[in-house]
Structure formats: C-alpha cells, structure tokens
C-alpha cells in the first residue's frame, strides 16, 4: 500500500488528524499509532513507579540511625560526569531518529551504537559508584538510606540496561535490513523510552544528589 493510499484509508477520528504526527503506518480505529500510544501509556505508568521510589527515598534518607549517610558517600563531581554522559546519549538518540526519518540507515546505525556506548559508560559509572559505596561501608542492608538509595538508582540502572539491549537489537535489525525509513516509527518509539530514562535521571540527579 502506498503512503497516499494509507493516508486516504486513515479515519478522521475525533482529536486525531489523519496527517498529525503519530499517524500510523497502518489503519487504526483512533487514527494514531497504537504502538506509539502504548509506549506513552507505559511511560505515564512508569512515572508512578519512579514517583514511588523517589518519594520513598525522600522519606527515608535521613532516618538512618547507623552507617554512612548521603553526605558521607556521594561523589558529586563523578556523578555529574555520569549525568552529562546520559544527557548526551539523549542527543545521539534524537540524531538516530532524525537520521532514520531521512532514510539514512547507515547514520542511524552509527548513532544507535553511540547511544548504546554512552549508556554503557553510564552503567559502568553506576557500577563503580555502587562498588565504592560498599567499600565505604554502605551496603543494601546497612541502613534505611542505603536500601532506599540502591533500590531507586538500581531500578533506574535496570531501565538503562534494558534500553541498551533494545539499542543493540535495533542495531542488529538494521544490519539485517529490517530498519528502513518506512519503519522509522520503531526507532522513534524506542527513542521515547530512552529519553524517558534520561528525564528520570534528571529528577534523580537533582533530588537525590544535589539537594542535601
């Protein structure tokens, strides 16, 4: 089916223009992409998950009666570099989405790998940070601050790790010719996930690390 034919087949659902961004590559009852809507619903629900973890941390971080506290273990300059790396991975992800929308698969592939590498650097930094905390005497069960901190940042780290796996999957798919300009929405939807992981870290970096 040609692009024009698809556009003609799209219904004019209320609130959804047939040519609006998010228009699906196939017919849907709403006129917008089901996959993209599903990702946004998932991200909206993930706000509740991270909201719960962040508020739990805020409630518990100064309630420890023993062991190191935040001011004893945090290395702000190091974490700042990690934060900057993750922020720049959002740029490379956006460039990957832009490239695939232009039909430049090779450049998209390059940016996907770059994003995965930056994500890997962030995770390596988190592993180093966790290791140094444990060496300084702060384990997962040392005190209530440690439990809340490791749970929050660990969940975020898992999200980044899952994102890296997705990125490498997209890379392999592009090598097999399964990522083209027509399937650009696949890269765009994954990009939404990656940017969400970045904005969650924007919150964590400020609330957990910078505000005492």
């Amino acid at each position: 089916m040609t692009e024009t034919a698809v556009d003609e087949a799209l219904p004019s659902a209320a609130g959804a223009e047939p040519h609006a961004h998010g228009a699906p590559s196939h017919e849907t009852s709403t006129g917008i992409s089901n996959e993209k809507l599903a990702m946004w619903v998932f991200l909206g629900s993930d706000c509740l998950l991270f909201g719960g973890l962040i508020s739990t941390y805020l409630l518990l971080r100064h309630r420890s009666t023993s062991g190191p506290g935040p001011e004893d273990v945090f290395d702000i300059p190091f974490t700042s570099v990690s934060s900057f790396v993750l922020l720049m991975s959002s740029l490379t992800m956006a460039l990957a989405v832009g490239a695939i929308h232009r039909g430049d698969v090779r450049r998209c592939r390059t940016w996907l790998v770059t994003t995965a590498m930056l994500g890997g650097v962030f995770i390596a930094g988190q592993v180093y940070e966790f290791t140094s905390f444990v060496k300084e005497g702060l384990g997962y069960t040392t005190n209530i601050f440690g439990s809340a901190f490791f749970t929050l940042t660990g969940f975020h780290g898992v999200h980044v790790s899952v994102g890296i796996i997705f990125l490498m999957s997209l890379f392999v798919m592009s090598l097999r010719g399964k990522i083209t300009q027509e399937s650009a929405e696949t890269v765009e939807i994954f990009g939404l996930y990656w940017h969400f992981v970045d904005i969650v870290w924007i919150l964590i970096f400020t609330v957990v690390y910078l505000i005492p």
Binding site: S80, L91, G103
Partner: protein
C-alpha cells in the same frame, strides 16, 4: 519556504517532503538538536555549580535547582520526545500519569510526615 519545498538527504537539513506530508510537521534538524543539547549542558553545569557554593541553605538550593530541573525536563520532553508538535493525545496521556504520580506521592509524603511528627515529636 514551506516545509514541503525541500527534499534533503543530508543531516542538519529538513525532512523530505514525503515525510513532512505524512507527519504534518518538520522534525528539528540535527543542528537544532545540537543547540538543544548545548542548552541542556549549560543548565547541567549551572546545577553542578551549586555544589561548590559555600554553605547554602536547603531552601536556597531547592529554589535554584528545581526551576533548572523542570526546565531540563520540559526541554527533553518537548524537543527530544517531540511532545511540542506531536499528537496532543500523547501529551495528555503522559501528563496525566505524571500529574497523578505527583499528586499521589506528595499527599503520601505529607501524610507520612504528619504521622511521624505526631509519633516522634521534635
């Protein structure tokens, strides 16, 4: 020049006309993405700069850091996640989840603080 006048292939230029027709708007160019990233980096540097201030109060830090955090959040959502020009349904779905989380957990935290201050006065 309208959005549909060009058929570029190079990064930094605008989207092909066929793409614009399909999506009803222009994606930001690579150059625009880079400018957005520079703005984000500058805000992050300003955030980190507060760490080197001499003994600031928590209220002062929060007053400086929260606006910068919100600015970064909005910029990433608007530009990188395309919420500025995407279908409004996506924005509504995400904002609903976000506001629900904020309301639920602010109320939850207030309740917990109230309970603890009653149980452990002082």
């Amino acid at each position: 020049m309208t959005a549909t006048d060009v058929e570029p292939t190079e990064p930094g230029e605008t989207m092909p006309a066929s793409h614009v027709e399909a999506h009803g708007h222009q994606h930001p160019s690579d150059r625009q993405y880079a400018v957005v990233a520079i703005i984000l980096a500058v805000i992050t540097a300003a955030e980190v700069g507060t760490y080197f201030m001499d003994d600031p109060s928590t209220a002062l830090l929060a007053g400086m850091l929260f606006p910068m955090m919100i600015a970064k959040f909005v910029i990433v959502c608007g530009w990188f996640m395309h919420l500025r020009y995407d279908n409004p349904i996506f924005r509504r779905v995400f904002v609903f989840g976000l506001l629900l989380a904020v309301v639920v957990y602010v109320v939850g935290m207030m309740t917990a603080f109230e309970f603890w201050s009653a149980v452990y006065p002082g």
